[in-house]
Symmetry: C2
Subunit: 331 residues, 2 copies
């Protein structure tokens, strides 16, 4: 194997992301220098945050450069090593982006144990999405036993973990998801107390019925009307972990209308980026890893096959077509 494939950002989206925003390239496998390793990626993670990086706007991170490999988390295997800390066959988590292979000096690579935890889970419940859920829940929502928490995109990689962790802390966990199948999964498989199908057309009434004691904390992934409905059900001193606003990523207007609730209910809202809280990752990953290894934290994956499927899978993710963690299988 002397070349590998990678996907670069060809152009910035005008509204919705389209396949033409990406371009496949074939590049030579580089020769390793001392200290470097070559990784063959087994899975690529697709995550909503990538949508924001595709735009050239002021944000928490520099925009994805045109012509460069799309960023993204990956898990894979060392296939060649000139670094004594890594042996051929070691499984590693990295940030090689939308590419079949990658070279690293090892600095940002993390070896993982796949004895009890499947490799792909390190991109999901025991990776960045899981930590996002853990951070938002424990550090911002801070739910107490008996409180009601609501999480949007509840069947997704992040939302599914939020609700399960909340249940383990004695909370009433209510999810919001799109479609009866996802909602059934959230309640029957993940163990949430209720899940509201926002596509069913009765969001306000269904939310009221599912939260008879109001809402104490929200994990918000979506924004827009769903978020406004939640704000109208908040109890005094409610907390909102603002993780994503996927409903507005394509530029649709996404006003928050119920601003007054923040005042009348003395709410606290905090936006966060989990990569800025690396100090808490060991603590969070320990809890998440134990739960996955012992079968107490369930997850589901949507797996697209081959790097060429990544653009369509990503576009589907932004429209909620995935079911659980969206991955691209590369090997």
């Amino acid at each position: 194997m002397t070349t590998y494939q990678q996907l670069v950002l060809a152009s910035r989206p005008q509204g919705e992301v389209v396949p033409a925003n990406f371009r496949m390239e074939s590049v030579p496998v580089p020769a390793l220098k001392d200290g470097e390793v070559l990784v063959r990626n087994h899975y690529l993670s697709l995550d909503p945050y990538m949508r924001m990086r595709m735009e050239d706007v002021k944000s928490y991170a520099a925009p994805q450069a045109i012509g460069e490999v799309m960023i993204g988390g990956t898990v894979g295997e060392i296939v060649e090593s000139k670094n004594p800390k890594f042996a051929v066959g070691d499984k590693v988590v990295g940030m090689f982006g939308w590419a079949e292979m990658g070279v690293s000096d090892g600095m940002l690579l993390r070896k993982v144990d796949t004895t009890h935890i499947p490799l792909s889970a390190y991109l999901g419940s025991v990776g960045m999405p899981g930590m996002t859920a853990w951070y938002g829940l424990t550090q911002i929502m801070q739910p107490k036993e008996g409180e009601t928490i609501v999480v949007s995109a509840a069947s997704g990689a992040v939302g599914s973990v939020v609700g399960q962790l909340a249940k383990q802390r004695g909370c009433r966990a209510v999810g919001i998801a799109g479609g009866a199948e996802k909602c059934a999964y959230v309640v029957n498989e993940l163990g949430f107390d209720a899940c509201i199908d926002y596509k069913a057309g009765n969001l306000a009434a269904d939310l009221k019925a599912a939260t008879p004691n109001g809402i104490d904390a929200v994990f918000e992934n979506v924004g827009g009307k769903i978020f406004d409905e939640c704000l109208g059900r908040m109890n005094p001193f409610g907390r909102i972990a603002l993780c994503g606003l996927i409903s507005g990523y394509d530029g649709e207007p996404m006003a928050l209308n119920n601003v007054r609730a923040f005042l009348t209910m003395r709410l606290t809202m905090r936006g966060f980026i989990v990569s800025e809280h690396i100090d808490l990752w060991p603590q969070g990953l320990k809890e998440l890893g134990t739960l996955v290894a012992t079968g107490k934290l369930k997850f589901r994956e949507s797996v697209a096959q081959g790097l060429q499927s990544a653009p369509e899978a990503f576009i589907g993710l932004l429209k909620g077509k995935n079911f659980g963690k969206q991955l691209v299988k590369l090997v």
Copy 2:
């Protein structure tokens, strides 16, 4: 004097508050029971929060009942006492509402010293509005030296204190107010670094010019477009103390459009009600009282004469016609 005057809520406002929402009543001065005092109110405080109480909606406090005396803070003098803790002539802060007199068992009365601080200031900079400013600034905005803070309604009873306290903590203080006269006062008299006239029609450009290093913390009294403009200038990890939304109190739509800034800049917003943090009042009032007594905290009052002027003065306050703390002088 066997009777006194009081204003009751006659009807709930439909949109803007109108004089017909209030009704003047003459009531007998009651005979005191043991333990009670009779207070003659010298000043009545008019505050934006009263507007929300006039409506029958879910909020932090029960709505003002129809036919009952409008609530409100007052300062006055003991004119009769059957309570050993209070002597005739003592100056007191109370919550007697829109009324010339009031009877109390002393529980919620606070004796104040007018040697160095004028009585009316206990309804302003050394009272609830001052504490509102102090709490929002010190507990939520937590500005560090060199940071830029922005406060809307900057010439008002709360905003004026926010900016002055921020200046004393080494911040750049930028106000927003309506009209050139108020803005000149905010800069020249109160010592803010800049003040933007939102009526001048260049809000976005003026805000940008006044905050060359962005905004680190906002004290929000107004809401609406002004708030959105501020959100667009926030620096990472900015803090927003949400104190009021006066632009929306009459029911105008008041959407927050720049929700995305909360995510991209990892902002924290907290709504608060200062009366829920009584534990901090001694600390705050000590700082505020010392500053007023030594001339280091300046304030301005708009004083309406006589209880009958309260409705018009209150309606003017909601439209920004007041200049500084709005009071009604009763004696």
